[in-house]
Symmetry: C2
Subunit: 222 residues, 2 copies
């Protein structure tokens, strides 16, 4: 995938703090830094070979995004999500997914439907190889793409913020491991509902999918 950003663009728009923030977020999302872990400034100084200031700035941004918690004079910790907060995140996500479905279904183009069918194929292939590392980001991206298709930038931003937060749940817990068969069937039902262009149907299917995902999350965690 060719990047459209040239080196000049990059140097003129991205600070070290931006890149540090991006890298820490990547590590958190990849599960390489666990919820509850302390982020040590000096460790990142050595790891990323920058001075402390950009690291501190990145920490501030991550805190405002709700991913870490800064405790004065004690350090920065990746936030841990309680059972209550998990429930609330799923509830919020259900609302956002439902909204996306209700909005998109009567507006979806034939091209977009074909694209979503391509996503289903890819999800099936990843599930068939049994690689969680492949399936998990693909599942996230599938849902993200649906919200993106609404064209509502603000909705997409808030959705992504909620999903980033959900990464703090145990990694294999907020998306069915390897994609359970019910989950994959639900993906097919989502695409079919969008294809029907019925807003209430799509809304209900997407909402149900998230609620079922929450139930699966509970099953795994109890």
């Amino acid at each position: 995938m060719a990047s459209t950003m040239t080196n000049l663009d990059l140097l003129q728009s991205r600070t070290l703090a931006d890149l540090v923030q991006q890298e820490i977020l990547r590590l958190i999302k990849a599960g390489e830094i666990a919820a509850g872990a302390k982020l040590n400034e000096l460790t990142f100084v050595q790891l990323l070979r920058v001075s402390r200031a950009p690291i501190r700035e990145a920490f501030r941004a991550l805190e405002a995004a709700g991913l870490v918690k800064l405790e004065k004079n004690r350090g920065v910790f990746v936030r841990e999500i309680s059972g209550d907060e998990a429930r609330e995140l799923y509830q919020l996500r259900a609302i956002l997914d439902e909204t996306a479905g209700r909005y998109l279904a009567p507006r979806i183009s034939d091209t977009e439907i074909i694209e979503l069918q391509g996503w289903l194929t890819r999800l099936e292939a990843a599930a068939a190889t049994g690689q969680v590392g492949d399936y998990f980001p693909l599942n996230i991206a599938f849902h993200d793409r649906i919200v993106e298709m609404t064209g509502n930038i603000t909705l997409l931003e808030f959705y992504r913020r909620a999903i980033d937060r959900m990464h703090l749940l145990r990694r294999q817990s907020f998306s069915a491991p390897g994609g359970s068969n019910p989950s994959r069937q639900e993906h097919r039902a989502i695409v079919a509902a969008l294809e029907s262009r019925d807003p209430d149907l799509a809304a209900a299917i997407l909402r149900k999918h998230v609620e079922n995902g929450y139930q699966r999350f509970l099953d795994i965690n109890t």
Copy 2:
């Protein structure tokens, strides 16, 4: 209002960067810094008498909150909200208000209903004095309190994030000036719907209130 935070608590938990962030946010929300305005580090150094580092950290947090935009080597600017983004914010807010109403109505306590009736009284009093400065924050706080009553912390956080963003719209535009009579009638209808404990009614009334607010916003801005 007595603060429950002692000086010791304060010193142990709040950094200069926290306080700078809070102050800049207050200035933005109060309309003392306009959308589009450039935030100059050195100006804040002099104004707040701190060094540049806490100011830079505060800027990073405000950027992650979506309130300012940091342009490398050029400075930090308060974000301007386009007509499209305004529409999207109102849409998102309608969803969140509706969700709050649907959730709260079947659960609201008698005490909470009495409290909301007190809010109505206060809103009417503020509208009667004709002071926009009094009515505006009260209106915001009334709605905030309703979402808070749901007890869903994550919903409240996302709601507040959206409302903070809406402050970037022209100040007198996202809340009816002085509280128009229709708006105040709608507030009464909201409380009555919550009092009925009918989730669908409350959801619909709250949603309609936001949609009407958007219409009033458009009327003022065109």
